[in-house]
């Protein structure tokens, strides 16, 4: 395959640019023209994203599965002989993301119109949201690593703004700071990786580096280490953005933002940017790095799933679930299931977004109940919910579909993508020794844990009786589904969580069109037992797991899942990772900054103080000299002049005759002197 320059269609390029710029236009209009609380802004942003969605669909169908990538470039700037070019690189991966982002963003925009309706900063919210969509869309189409990095940062910045959207709350401020700082660690690694590649290949052009046969792996004369280290750096960038261990702790805290933001940014799109990055620079990873990716992904998936088991905050459970699912995608990338990872990315975007939107509605209703009955409860706590199934049927049904997709039961999209990952993980581990088989087994275990915590969530929220009655038996809980602006986006997303969108055959992921769009691999054939055994085994195991959750939380007759003990506390406190960071790393950083502060205060400030004191001393000496020496001389001179003047003044009597006498006397004296001397 050539560098894909042979195939460029100006129409597609223009459409792709329009897709990216429409949200930017909405951002500018909202930012500059629309008043603070005007309701117009929501419709402008939604319209922009709707047009974006339509155009991106056109682009998608024109580009998808074509033999050549679309790649156009223009010189951006030149330094000496080095020309830096920017352009678009549209291949299957980027058009998939280009379609996915507006497809998820559109329902979220519509939902937000209702969700944010009463907020004082309504326009600002949509300004930020449009800005985020612009940055995200630009990120996926850029062909230049430098510019991709810039948009990578802008996406993080938009996320920062939206996490701290309610910046009057202290927790939100802490959370957005945390997200920003933790992302920064990854961003620096990413930048280092980009510059390292530039140092060796003298180009930022991703097409030259990563497309087709230009892959880095073919590079000759470059030390292997110089291929491994940038790979690790890219991985670090992805770890921070996609909230993988050990940089995952920002994501649960990021739930302080509006729920609709959590749905769009922290579940469906931005956190997937890390996975997208891995997919974009896939050839940069050699076998060692891929193993690291798989291990990190597997560990994160497992860890986050165990944490999600015991959390009580509705959004926090979903956040850990997101981390866990992103871990799955990482794992898939690591084991070479490139297409499965992206397939899971796409399906996860829909069902996790839907779960968050449902959570938004539920929390909204709980907040109403809290205010109505003046209860002292946390509206996000699932322990106070229950029995919402009959009160909010639409939310219940859509949320159930998403939950089933998340668990990965057949007929849903999640089944197709998740089982693909599991199967390929098993195939990857085969024949590599027992140590490698930890990864597929861990993934399998994680999917069972996922089933349990999702079932727990659903049972606690929707089934049984409302636990508010435990506070006050007189309470008759009232809740409803909310307006059509809530319901329609959720129904749209629910439709996207089912299998027909992705495959006509609900049981074999191998037949999903999305799957076929990526690297043709042997995985496509149902060549061994795994393809049958793994899905069947997983689903057979999931059923008792769900029943167990039912028994534990609804019938309350299974008591082996104890609410105390070491393991419970370990999970409840999120593996103590946050505490560890707070106690060790934050403390070390604080210690270091205190040390530098001390140095600054005492050494540097001391030196400056001494210098300043010397200056003051010199100034005082100069002032003394000025006052006593210079001024003294001047006073003496003026004194002499004054005395002289006073002396001479005495002669001026004003008597003309006196002057005449003086004159005559002088003349006489002169004559006398002249005559006798």
């Amino acid at each position: 395959m050539e560098t894909a320059l042979s195939y460029t269609d100006p129409l597609i390029i223009q459409l792709a640019i329009a897709v990216v710029l429409l949200p930017f236009a909405a951002f500018l209009i909202n930012f500059l023209l629309i008043s603070k609380t005007s309701k117009v802004s929501g419709w402008i942003s939604s319209l922009a994203i709707l047009l974006s969605f339509i155009l991106s669909a056109i682009v998608f169908f024109k580009v998808w599965d074509k033999p050549h990538d679309i790649h156009v470039q223009q010189v951006w700037f030149a330094i000496g002989n080095v020309k830096v070019q920017i352009g678009l690189w549209l291949n299957n991966l980027s058009v998939l993301m280009l379609l996915l982002v507006p497809a998820v963003a559109l329902p979220v925009h519509i939902y937000s119109i209702a969700y944010m309706a009463g907020d004082a900063k309504y326009t600002r919210y949509f300004t930020y949201l449009s800005f985020f969509c612009f940055a995200m869309l630009a990120l996926v189409v850029m062909d230049n690593m430098l510019l991709m990095y810039a948009f990578w940062e802008l996406v993080g910045f938009a996320s920062y703004l939206l996490i701290g959207f309610w910046f009057t709350r202290d927790k939100a401020v802490q959370a957005n700071k945390k997200a920003f700082i933790m992302n920064r660690i990854g961003d620096i690694a990413l930048l280092v990786g980009i510059l390292m590649l530039y140092a060796h290949y003298h180009t930022f052009d991703m097409v030259k580096l990563f497309a087709g046969d230009n892959a880095l792996a073919n590079a000759q004369g470059v030390d292997k280490a110089w291929l491994t280290i940038p790979g690790i750096c890219f991985l670090c960038g992805a770890i921070a953005k996609s909230a993988q261990f050990p940089l995952h702790t920002w994501l649960p805290d990021a739930m302080e933002g509006p729920t609709s933001v959590s749905a769009l940014i922290h579940a469906a799109t931005m956190v997937a940017a890390g996975i997208f990055l891995l997919g974009r620079v896939y050839p940069a990873f050699n076998a060692d790095v891929l193993t690291v990716i798989a291990v990190i992904g597997c560990f994160t998936a497992f860890m986050a799933a165990t944490i999600a088991l015991t959390q009580n905050d509705l959004k926090r459970i979903l956040a850990y679930s997101t981390i866990s699912q992103l871990g799955f995608m990482m794992l898939a990338m690591g084991v070479g299931a490139y297409s499965s990872a992206l397939f899971h990315l796409a399906t996860h975007a829909f069902f996790k977004c839907l779960l968050f939107l449902s959570a938004g509605v539920i929390i909204h209703e709980m907040q109403h109940l809290k205010q109505k009955h003046q209860l002292n409860i946390d509206p996000q706590n699932i322990l106070y919910m229950g029995g919402l199934r009959k009160l909010m049927p639409v939310t219940f049904i859509t949320c159930s579909i998403a939950a089933l997709a998340l668990i990965g039961l057949p007929l849903t999209s999640g089944y197709l993508s998740k089982d693909g990952i599991l199967i390929q993980a098993f195939e990857w581990a085969e024949g590599k020794g027992w140590l490698y088989s930890i990864i597929p087994i861990g993934a399998m275990l994680t999917s069972l844990l996922t089933a349990f915590y999702v079932a727990r969530l659903m049972f606690k929220v929707f089934f049984g009786e409302s636990r508010l009655k435990e506070f006050n038996p007189d309470i008759v809980p009232e809740a409803h589904d909310g307006s059509l602006l809530y319901q329609i986006p959720m129904m749209m997303l629910a439709a996207c969580c089912l299998f027909p969108l992705f495959s006509f055959n609900p049981f074999f992921y191998e037949q999903a069109w999305l799957f076929k769009g990526f690297i043709a691999s042997s995985y496509l054939e149902r060549m061994n037992l795994y393809h049958t055994v793994v899905p069947v085994a997983v689903n057979l195991l999931i059923v008792p797991v769900i029943y167990l959750a039912y028994a534990t939380y609804i019938k309350r007759d299974a008591h082996w899942f104890k609410q105390q003990g070491v393991l419970f506390r370990f999970s409840y406190n999120q593996w103590y990772i946050d505490s560890f960071y707070n106690k060790v790393i934050v403390k070390l950083v604080l210690l270091l900054s205190n040390l530098t502060y001390w140095l600054d205060k005492n050494v540097i400030d001391g030196l400056i103080g001494i210098l300043a004191n010397i200056g003051i001393l010199l100034g005082k000496i100069a002032a003394w000299v000025d006052e006593y020496v210079i001024d003294g001389i001047l006073h003496v001179i003026t004194g002499i002049v004054k005395q002289g003047g006073n002396f001479v003044r005495g002669f001026q009597t004003g008597r003309v005759q006196g002057y005449l006498v003086t004159m005559l006397l002088v003349i006489l004296v002169l004559y006398v002197l002249k005559t006798f001397i």
């Binding site: 003044r649 009597t653 004003g654 005759q657 006498v661 005559l664």
Partner: protein, 101 residues
Amino acid sequence: MITLTDFLFISAGLFCTGIFIVLSKRNAIQILIGIELIINAAILNLVAFGKYDKLNNAGQSFALFAIVLAAAAVSVALAIILNVYRQYKTIDPNKVERLKG
């Protein structure tokens, strides 16, 4: 026979009288008269020494110039005195002492 010395004596006498008047009088007009006497003493000297220049009569000619100049000086002086009087309502030079340092 009147000798040169006699002229010089008379001239010296006139001069001394003039000086005395100038220094002692409390009236500007009288001082002006004293000044006239001094000038006339000088003119008398010029004429007296004119006997040594019988050819050109330079002494007499200078005397004529001096007389004219004296007349001019008197008119200027009188004008000054008039103005002084307007300013100070007096012509006593001792009372006109605004230039005192």
